[in-house]
């Protein structure tokens, strides 16, 4: 079946603008995760959704970052008033359920460049 998809693939924006990144998880996966990967670094956790439960936002770096997910479908990550330090690849992953039992499968990411 189809894997995790993300759009856009690349996004260039000016400092201060808002951006919206989209993630389509694998069908049937109840858990969805957003990670950020800065240049030359590993991935850092941002936010996690599990079904209809309240999301875990503990990894969001500031209140300029927010994310939504409706049920077990598409998720959007919004960054308001973008700053140059927001430049990174934003990766989305999904898994059948939460916890380490089920493997997380990743999308191709969105490369965000803030000028």
């Amino acid at each position: 079946g189809a894997g995790v998809s993300q759009s856009p693939s690349n996004k260039v924006t000016e400092k201060g603008k808002d951006v919206e990144l989209r993630c389509d998880p694998i069908s049937g996966h109840t858990a969805l995760y957003w990670y950020r990967q800065r240049l030359g670094q590993g991935l850092e956790f941002l936010i996690y959704f599990q079904g209809n439960s309240a999301p875990d936002k503990s990894g969001l770096p500031s209140d300029r970052f927010s994310a939504e997910r409706t049920g077990e479908s598409v998720s959007t990550l919004t960054i308001q008033r973008t700053q140059q330090e927001d430049s990174a690849v934003y990766l989305c992953a999904s898994s059948l359920s939460a916890g380490g039992t089920d493997t997380q499968y990743f999308g191709p990411g969105t490369r965000l460049t803030v000028l």
Binding site: A31, Y33, Y35, G40, Q41, G42, L43, E44, F45, Y48, Q50, D56, G59, V89, L91, A93, A98, G99, G100, T101, T103, Q104, Y105, F106, G107, P108, G109, R111
Partner: protein
């Protein structure tokens, strides 16, 4: 807190040779899972291999195998018969049943040369 350390920023291996990538970790959890992911220039993170901590047997997937030393908290990846397509960043990651976010190391850049 859980931490993952990859001490080799870059490695190089000739085609058809064997290479081992190192990973050490720290966790207070008794039930956890370890992963190796591959990230080629396309950015797509691809699962290479997975190991459940409660299993003593080392996981194997074709040319990829791990050496899991639980007491030493070590989880190395061995790539046999290296191929040009193995050129990528390799990330070691840790998860536990009580958590959900993967904890990643900083990665090892592997270059396979002809």
């Amino acid at each position: 807190a859980q931490t993952v350390t990859q001490s080799q920023p870059e490695m190089s291996v000739q085609e058809a040779e064997t290479v081992t990538l190192s990973c050490t970790y720290d966790t207070s959890e008794s039930n956890y899972y370890l992963f190796w992911y591959k990230q080629p220039p396309s950015r797509q993170m691809i699962l290479v291999i997975r190991q459940e901590a409660y299993k003593q047997q080392n996981a194997t997937e074709n040319r990829f195998s791990v050496n899991f030393q639980k007491a030493a908290k070590s989880f190395s990846l061995k790539i046999s018969d290296s191929q040009l397509g193995d050129t990528a960043m390799y990330f070691c990651a840790l998860n536990s049943n009580s958590g959900y976010a993967l904890n990643f190391g900083k990665g090892t850049s592997l270059l396979v040369t002809p």
